[in-house]
Symmetry: none
Subunit: 225 residues, 2 copies
DNA sequence: CTTCAACCAGCAGAATTTTCATGGGAAAAG
DNA sequence: CTTTTCCCATGAAAATTCTGCTGGTTGAAG
């Protein structure tokens, strides 16, 4: 994984890039706020080092754009000013560390190491919910009314799709296309069979039914009859 | 959880203590290195703020004593000197951040927040635990029900990853990506083989099984069936 | 009210996929 | 050079997935 360095002064950026590369990091450089923002949003970096003073967008604006879509990647801000005003603004905006120029290179390395070392796998669990039914698509767990349900892979895929579109009627073709991908036979009743399996596990043990049949159209996830 | 502040100048310590308390932190103060070390080693703190210059023991000596028995608690060093020599010494000794006196109070608060926040999110303690299974990722030791287990490097890596995400189903791809890094063949069954090795050592000798397979999805660490 | 066609639920066993558990050989460590 | 660790390959076992079928329901036309 790479480090993104956004710094407009060629001397400084070259110095940092070379130094970090000697320490075994891979470094990519952007020379202005516009390009920096673009790279930061389109690639995954291990760490982003942002100068505050940049052409087009300031480092703080870039930081804001990054945090709007990604909370995870650590960001280290560089500033020529030791003014606390800036520092707080940066921390408030989601920066993980701050360094005041001029800085000692070994200190930069120390902070870079601290920030990259720390990144554990932050499991982003995308949790879908409907009524008392909960599905964690990352952890692959499902619960209803607090009770864990044991589903097979197909059942899970089917329920996930239904949960992604609560209240919407999904045709057999739509369900098959998503859950069975390309390999599915139009004349088959697999979908029906699996909806049935799902009902046995998800609806049967509970009084309120969530999976409903719409004759001639398909199936829906919804509360009432 | 409290913050421990080790600072001998009464004016400074009172100022910091009051200020942090206004921000909602609980603060305990020690006025010399000896007492500071004693408190740090005998209580669990959320963060320890250490002045470098102290009576009896220096802040660096206290830090060393802390790190000898606890890698986890974040430590913020305060120094009157801006000399890089000191800074590196502190980072090398295991400090998590550094602040040069005189500092702006808001900046201290910002760094304190960063350090306490980070810890909460991460919960990346060196020792992972689940049920009666314990793994110390720093010491590379594993015990179950008090008995030490002898694992190979791969087995250890695999168990560590499972232990980091208890209850979450991890796919073979996820496991392979983390434990085998880039060098792994998708068509291989290495993961299965190593899960089997792990089970022989971790689960087989014990009545309660912890590693479970979820057919079509991957493996989980969890208590029940 | 009856009939008919389309549609759907549910089952049971066959087919397929996935996983387990080994043995053996290559590579690395001691 | 011996031991340990690592990985591949294989067949057996287990679990899931699918097919084909029966019977029930619905709704519209006669």
């Amino acid at each position: 994984m790479k480090i993104l360095l956004v710094e407009d002064e060629p001397k400084v950026s070259a110095f940092i890039k070379r130094g970090l590369e000697e320490e075994g990091f891979e470094v990519e450089v952007a020379y202005d706020g516009r390009f920096g923002r673009q790279l930061a949003l389109s690639h995954a970096y291990e760490l982003i080092i942002l100068d505050v003073i940049l052409p087009y967008f300031s480092g703080l604006e870039v930081l804001e754009a990054i945090r709007a879509q990604d909370q995870q990647t650590p960001v280290l801000m560089l500033t020529a000013l030791g003014t606390t005003q800036d520092k707080l603004h940066g921390f408030g905006g989601g920066a993980d560390d701050y360094l005041v120029k001029p800085f000692d290179f070994p200190e930069l390395v120390a902070r870079v190491r601290a920030l990259t070392r720390r990144r554990g796998q932050q499991a982003k669990s995308a949790v879908l919910q409907f009524e008392d039914l909960t599905l964690d698509s990352a952890a692959k767990t499902v619960t209803r009314a607090g009770q864990p349900l044991k589903l097979t892979a197909r059942e899970f895929g089917l329920l996930e799709l239904l949960l992604r579109h609560p209240g919407r009627v999904l045709s057999r073709a739509e369900l098959a296309a998503d859950v069975w991908e390309d390999s599915f036979d139009a004349g088959s009743n697999v979908v029906d069979v699996y909806v049935n399996y799902l009902r046995n596990k998800v609806d049967k043990p509970f009084p309120r039914k969530l999976i409903h049949t719409v004759v001639g159209m398909g199936y829906v996830l919804r509360a009432q009859e």
